[in-house]
Symmetry: C2
């Protein structure tokens, strides 16, 4: 089955790691959010692309959910002495990826080409595509003005209230080569349990993506990153509230209407079926909390089962 997955970072990485164990990895295309890309120390950092690639190459630090396992922070510590910002926490192993990507971009390669080179070098089999080669920056309106996503999420630890979200540059961005083709040819679309506002939202904001999702006859299924009234991890709840979405599985269904066919919610939310279905999506339940490889595989299998 030809699959397309829409992915952010940590939550997506878990489901994708399960998916490549139960589906054919070479027939999977992963379209990844680049709205939280950043320039750190002059280097092009693509956190979600790297989290997905590291996860599929079994290099991801599972405990942190980001960065490379066994990484060290010598360069970061030495940067502090020069007064350089260190809050972004680039590890020494991770740094190689950013140096390599930055070099490829400087030599005129696109982000999609750079991503293919990195994924290939790491032995990643699925096709990993940035949502766009053009820069799109998710920005959040906090009490003191607009913040980049990484400033909000890492530097401010998602503790400041957010009043609005925008995807800067999205209107002028084109989908990366292959994105619309993959959606058009997919036999199913899987929306990973990622933040609907800052992980999947930017992908949907790239012109053509929503139309492609609306036009494909392939079923689209999402796994809810919200259980009960809160996100499994990260600031999805606060950001959904900031954009006027209910912080619930129903809110996730609303974020993906009208093109979403099925929302998989946690079995703890079985009682919310009618709420979800009122948003126009079929509701299925599963255990959705992934605490290890078995849960990742089980959830991936449940997703494929719900598609069958």
């Amino acid at each position: 089955m030809r699959l397309v997955a829409l992915a952010g970072g940590t939550g997506a990485a878990k489901l994708l790691r399960g998916l490549v164990r139960v589906a054919e990895p070479s027939r999977l295309t992963i379209v990844v959010n680049t709205g939280d890309d950043a320039t750190v120390w002059g280097l092009a950092v693509s956190p979600d692309l790297d989290t997905v690639c590291y996860a599929l190459a079994d290099l991801l630090d599972r405990e942190r959910g980001w960065g490379r396992r066994g990484d060290s922070f010598q360069t970061r510590d030495a940067m502090a002495r020069f007064g350089e910002p260190t809050w972004f926490n680039l590890g020494d192993l991770d740094l190689a990826t950013h140096l390599h990507r930055t070099g490829l971009l400087r030599r005129g390669r696109t982000l999609a080409e750079a991503t293919a080179a990195i994924a290939g070098a790491l032995g990643v089999v699925p096709r990993v595509l940035p949502m766009s080669d053009a820069p799109v920056r998710t920005r959040l309106l906090g009490p003191e003005g607009w913040l980049d996503f990484q400033e909000y999420f890492v530097r401010e630890r998602a503790r400041v209230p957010v009043r609005a979200v925008r995807y800067e540059g999205a209107g002028a961005a084109a989908p990366a080569p292959g994105v619309l083709e993959a959606i058009g040819e997919a036999e199913a679309v899987i929306v990973c349990p990622s933040n609907p506002v800052t992980s999947i939202g930017p992908i949907l904001a790239v012109p053509g993506v929503l139309a492609g999702l609306g036009a494909t006859p392939a079923p689209a299924i999402a796994v809810s990153p919200i259980v009960g009234d809160a996100a499994v991890s990260g600031p999805a709840g606060a950001l959904m509230a900031a954009t006027g979405l209910p912080v619930s599985a129903a809110g996730v269904a609303r974020a993906y209407a009208p093109w979403l066919d099925t929302l998989m919610v946690d079995e703890a939310d079985a009682g919310r079926r009618s709420e979800v279905e009122a948003e126009g999506a079929r509701c299925v339940t599963s255990r959705t909390i992934m605490t290890g490889p078995e849960e990742e595989v089980a959830l991936a299998r449940a997703v494929l089962g719900a598609l069958a």
Copy 2:
């Protein structure tokens, strides 16, 4: 006493470390070779500037003679997987210096300004100046064509025969701000025991430097990096031979004629005094091999003594 030192890397670092213990560091200006600067992974690397700064900040790895003590090589090892060249051996701590310098240059700072920022952040008291803000690249003609200095020295381990040396860009380079002024105001000029061809030669090739050295009434003393018929370390011997200089203390004196007043040779070369003096320099002897802090201080004291 206002001092100017002309410096390359390892040998210079040792003498300078001694010098700041026996002379007033704030009255010392160090003019450093940038002919072996390189671009590594897209970063601006200035090996001699860094060796001098690290040495004076007590951060230099004394055993290797380059790089930072206690450094690790995680990024380098991760770069290998991406097919990036790793022969240059940039350490993780060292990398911070190159990232910081590259960022400063990208934002329009000159190399001299970037060097001042780095030296200041590391707590280096003497004034450290690059010989020029403009790129000068020492290139060596090997059997298969022209090599950059680092390709010759690090990648090829100085094992290929060299037939010619040139300082690319030197003719169009101006001395960095402060270089000629420091030479003009110096009460003594000290040429560190560095490679006359690839460490001191590039400095002398920058227009105006030779004239400044010729014009100053201040005495100029050099410490010979050659003992007997061989260099204390590194490829100075082979490169002197390649440029037609005798591989001996006399060859060093010839490289610095006619502006050099005194050459300090190792006591093992006491018998070569007349040979050196035939090149036009006074010859003094000392122990010149520096194997530790005491020898560094002793040699620095001997140099100041010879100037007195």
